[in-house]
Subunit: 277 residues, 4 copies
């Protein structure tokens, strides 16, 4: 239902990933070759950490104007240099289209974004919201399934063990859905960060998840494409996880397998199996 | 925290009350002489019933642009002629400022708007939301205390006995608040309509409610002010309930007493005491 | 670059053409099968005349939120019944995306909307704007080529002879363009109305104009499709001119020829050749 | 008609001036003690230069949502650290309220903002716009008098001699106004920067200009108020020029005289007389 991108590496100008690539996230807002929907025009979000800020709260920009012509977004993407940022374009199932329904969602120093859906959310919403920690509950600001799952993950330990917490949160969605007779309650890819590590989850109850890719090692790409000018923008430790490839360079992006959590941290990229609790 | 206006009578152009009076509701958005806040610049709403439509669902326009210069609002107010309409300007305690937080709120053919507050709403919200009928729960779209009280009233019988339902809803707010140690849980004036009758409530736990006025009988005003040109716009059965007088004409508006429900229907204006259940 | 629709006939609920058809103008905002662009997501406009109002100034609503999920737009389209209205979805060449760049444009009781472009407008703009009547000049509010052509047409006699004025305006665009070495200065379809007659122009310097269709006579359609429920909504004198067919019913829409002005008035639909002066 | 602030010094978090002071520019948007209007709710703008970027193009954010509750604005002000930035809240004479009418205006690496008015601008606009360099003309995006004066100044040499160019631009406004019988054509304060030096002009044809202040030397303030915690945020070379004092600290702000240009550069603050050419 959406498209997203998460970057980790040496600080770069956000526009190098958000605006300038052939299939940049902003280009995908108008035309997403691999998306469940072609147009992702129901809101944009950008969350970024300052260089050197450690786990401080990230900056955030949300807009419901068409991303492809949003002047604030273009200016901001050119002005911000960051070592870790998320961006997201939304294709909503329906209204309300509002800033509080734009991803990424933020709580303290954490960011969360999602491409996918809780099936039959209208039926399940009340039960899932009730499972949110009452102290966290008043911080829910929008109406999306995604934000509720973020707050479930926070309730279930995101801040101490993100993979286990996401496993419990998705498990709770599946259990609740099945109680209501929903065959495939969860669909999607999720990115979560504390400002230092990025965890990216690809999982769906049906085993047919939305697309997810990670970038090939920059050192490898330099060897393969010694003349590629744009590659010189990126540090050796630069990594991207993204809903679909940002360009048509063969080998530049590799699919993240089904039922997997991909991790980007100071040691680089690795992944492991993911299963709901 | 807000200002509102409710009209019932022969169909008139909405601009005659929303834009043209000296202290029109749009003028009050920038400068409200009697408001708890001078500026009510956090969103505007207009809900109107079509002439002859009976209890059909009302039209609705919500905007968070500054009301005093909103071109859509001006055009709409000039274009719409209606026998019953609500409008509201909001002064929010805080973000999010979004259309789904603008009054009036609508459910089926009903409209609801509020000037006031549930004290310490952050503490009480979860408990109050849990008291909403689970079938109605997914229809809550914003984050305000006011919308939750509307859904509580719907849960507690608004569609069959509006006065009793509001009495139960405010009673529930007061009971819940007091359990949490809140001295004065409810404050405000509320207008509710089914498209035919308007009920306007003025009540606060502390007995110091936001201001509320109703218009003097037009026939009486014609006698008092035979030369007043603007009065000729209004039918003999035209009535307004409003947060504060729309003009400085002595006697044109009369205060609605504390702890009162004012009723506008085909028989004219009357009021009776209101007390939470 | 855009898609538009103009209706004339007995008053109907605007949603019957804007929202409910298979390829309604709102559906075309997200997916236009015949458009130069698939997505027309850069603003929406709706201008309507009141039943019985003669040539009074039309109501107007402009928005830059995504049309396909705009709640205000949906509510307004359901609430307004009108005997003559225009609506338009925009695909902009670039920013700024703002309400003052949304069609239709209005001056006094006239409406104007356009699908197309003045080629190399940046080069020609100053000269064209200078040709606008100085008394009209301060009323230009946006930055589009379309609005400038509207003001040129007003300058050149739109209010007394619309076809001659449009012929002079397009002729001036072509002459100015050619002086600057632009091979094909004008492209597009235009609709203009005074609230009573609709004139729709299809012309491009290159002879390859954007698509334009008019609806087949309702009486004929009733004969062809006696069981079509939706057709019963429309009066015998109902006519639509539209960028592309609103449904897939064979024969329901007929192409307006190149270099033509189509006219809808009390006598029905007819067309004649159009040539720039 | 507006309020503005310009900062130059060591990089600071923009929120320290935009959000946190007692009479911050955002606080002034809702309540400006010394403004010609109390409410400046018709748009917000923020333009900032990156640390170490020299004269690169500044970042920019414009919004027409109420500044006092705009979440994007708050987030951005907390996230941006800058050695030179402008911010502005607008009180418009009328619509359109749109981002392209928000100050500061930008051209290449220059920023410009204005508090005041060209009297009878509707009458003078065409003549003034015609005096803009035809190559610059297509870059005008909004409808304000202020933006036209910026483009006149660019036309008349802003990039080589800002004081002389502003003198010529204001002189042209005055000459044009007087030809049209306007007694006092120019009113206001203006700030201009190339990213290194700030020039702030206070001048009106009537000799009764909008208020303007500059901050007292930080070293002096440290001596006067050794215990003031907030002062420690500011470097010794930090300077602000602002429509009105940001706090009530006696002596912290000093009025800029009538008919004066104040200059902030690497040598600190100084001012000299300003007279239109």
């Amino acid at each position: 239902m959406c498209r997203w991108l998460a970057y980790r590496g040496a600080p770069i100008r956000a526009s190098e990933l958000m605006l300038h690539p052939e299939h940049s996230i902003v280009a995908q807002s108008l035309d997403s070759p691999m998306g469940a929907e072609t147009v992702n025009g129901d809101g944009f979000g950008f969350g970024w950490y300052a260089a050197g800020d450690g786990r401080g709260a990230p900056g955030m920009f949300h807009s419901v104007e068409p991303a492809w012509h949003d002047q604030n977004l273009r200016d901001l993407a050119e002005a911000v240099r960051s070592p870790l940022f998320f961006c997201h374009v939304r294709a909503a199932a329906g209204p309300p289209i509002q800033q509080t329904n734009c991803h990424p969602f933020r709580h303290e120093s954490w960011l969360f974004m999602h491409n996918g859906t809780v099936a039959e959310f209208g039926q399940l919403k009340r039960e899932l919201v009730m499972a949110v920690d009452p102290d966290l509950y008043p911080h829910i600001q929008g109406t999306t399934d995604s934000e509720v799952v973020f707050f479930l993950a926070l309730t279930l330990g995101l801040r101490t063990d993100p993979v286990a917490a996401m496993s419990r949160a998705v498990g709770l969605v599946e259990a609740t859905g099945r109680e209501h007779g929903v065959a495939f309650p969860w669909q999607g890819t999720v990115a979560v960060t504390d400002g230092s590590t990025i965890w990216a989850f690809r999982y769906s109850s049906q085993g047919r998840s939305r697309s997810l890719f990670h970038s090939t090692d920059i050192a490898t790409l330099h060897q393969w494409y010694p003349d590629a000018e744009r590659l010189k923008l990126f540090s050796d430790d630069a990594h991207v996880v993204v809903s679909e490839p940002l360009n048509d360079l063969p080998g530049a992006f590799v699919e993240v397998p089904e039922a997997t959590v991909a991790v980007l941290d100071a040691t680089g990229y690795h992944h492991e199996p993911f299963r709901p609790a």
